[in-house]
Symmetry: C2
Subunit: 300 residues, 2 copies
């Protein structure tokens, strides 16, 4: 069976693993990534770790999940806030030359979506839309087992989908962007504003209060659920996926909102789209498994 090197490179930590073509982790090494110390230090460390993998030379390719959009034409990051020095650097070429095998870089949400599409909840399906809802909202569109990256590597960057452009602007995102209306951070913000006495620290508390009968919390939850339903209806209109795979921290509260979200989704979509399954992500390590699946997805 073929094996691949999967690398999950964040600003703080890096994990390097040898993974089979069907997604089994054979060996894994974890280390600080030294992101703050600049590109040379990060690359030196990454390359040393790859050489610590038993039989890395036998692997058929290498994929790196990175925290930001990637330009696939140049194999470089388009934006690398958490990895200073990497914007525009020919990262994939460097690794390919160093290790003598095909090497790719890809946005971490796209990589997680790819893992779910090829060995997780979306296995064997043609169009998989992965949506992760935690502090932010991210996504990935996977078609026939390949990530759709897009012209600038921004495909799947669904945080900026506008729910209602008459709502507020909070940051670099567009007015009324879904991430500022229905992410964990947004629900927490609304909870703090409207329930100042409750010491809200995370979205789960708002869902818990709603379940206990708190009407204000219920209104916050209802609004976020309706906004998320609109997001999923939009994704269905663009790509009509075979499955929605849902990841991210907010899925810990899925029992408190997912059924209601699906009902709202049905209210605003064509009947034909009502049977699209909403499924919680299955993999514990989608980041590193997905990274290893990137070179596989580029074969033949």
């Amino acid at each position: 069976m073929k094996t691949y090197i999967g690398i999950d490179l964040g600003g703080t930590n890096i994990r390097v693993a040898k993974i089979t073509e069907d997604g089994k982790v054979l060996q894994q090494i974890k280390s600080p990534s030294y992101g703050a110390e600049g590109r040379e230090r990060v690359l030196e460390n990454l390359k040393k770790l790859v050489r610590q993998i038993d039989g890395w030379e036998e692997c058929s390719g290498m994929g790196v999940g990175v925290p930001g959009p990637c330009d696939q034409k140049t194999g470089s990051m388009s934006m690398s806030t958490n990895l200073p020095g990497f914007t525009g650097y020919p990262f994939a070429d460097d690794l390919s030359k160093e290790f003598g095998m095909p090497a790719y870089i890809e946005n971490d949400a796209n990589v997680a979506g790819l893992a779910e599409a090829v060995v997780g909840a979306g296995k064997r399906l043609s169009v998989v839309e992965y949506v992760t809802i935690s502090t932010g909202i991210g996504g990935a569109l996977i078609v026939d087992g390949k990530v759709v990256s897009g012209k600038h590597g921004y495909a799947g960057e669904i945080a900026n989908i506008i729910i209602d452009r008459d709502r507020g602007t909070y940051n670099h995102l567009a007015p009324g962007a879904v991430e500022n209306e229905a992410s964990g951070t947004a629900i927490t913000r609304k909870g703090r504003e409207l329930l100042p006495e409750m010491n809200i620290r995370h979205a789960g508390q708002v869902f818990d209060l709603a379940a206990e009968g708190n009407e204000i919390a219920q209104k916050i939850a209802d609004a976020a659920i309706a906004d998320l339903a609109q997001l999923f209806a939009t994704l269905a209109a663009v790509a009509d996926p075979d499955i929605f795979v849902l990841g991210g921290g907010m899925m810990k509260s899925a029992d408190k909102f997912l059924d209601q979200l699906i009902e709202k989704y049905k209210e605003i979509t064509h009947t034909a789209l009502h049977d699209t399954p909403f499924v919680i992500a299955q993999l514990e390590e989608p980041g590193i498994i997905g990274a290893a699946m990137v070179p596989r997805s580029h074969e033949g």
Copy 2:
């Protein structure tokens, strides 16, 4: 050079053509489609027309563009308002057996988008988003020269993308659906409401009045342009296409709104996405050429 049979089957007319793999029409026949007379009559006529094409036996495959979404797993229409009797009928299988070649059916907007993606404005690009704005709003997502059809054949059915769910409901579409806010029909409707003395018959008149300094017409145009900008920003967030290809009757007024639309688009998208080209569709016959490209797109 390989050739294919392309068929553009509407409720009223049918065109059948022999087309080269690079999109040249070698022979074309037009006829009524007899859509209202039921499936048997439509199929009998279609099959007779195919046999009138010189050397149809040498063609490598056949594609039919039809007015409605298609389930690619069964090769049947999911909904066929303008072709009674075709919903669920194994159309592709029937043709494949009849003519002994691979046969496919595909939604007419998807087919037009495919034509633009492989031999038109999006030639050689990886991700092409085709958007047609006329009486309605339709679209197609083409990735690596293949139509993304989706689970139910509804990918690209972007008419139902919600711009603002607090706006009106006019028909089967969701409240605030973009087709009811910014299509030719919607702009005409608003023109009739707000400029009753002007005898508005089509959207072009509203754009013309705006260009002549009519402030009410300008407000209608501005609102529609902002809504369309939001649609394109949404499409960019989901798929980050290499190009937006714009078709449909409203492009006749493109000089009166397209520059402004692109400016609005830039206001609500990340800087990285600002260089995505907006290009008017190039092909005169995208329907029939695109139909012929469907079997080509399924080859290896």
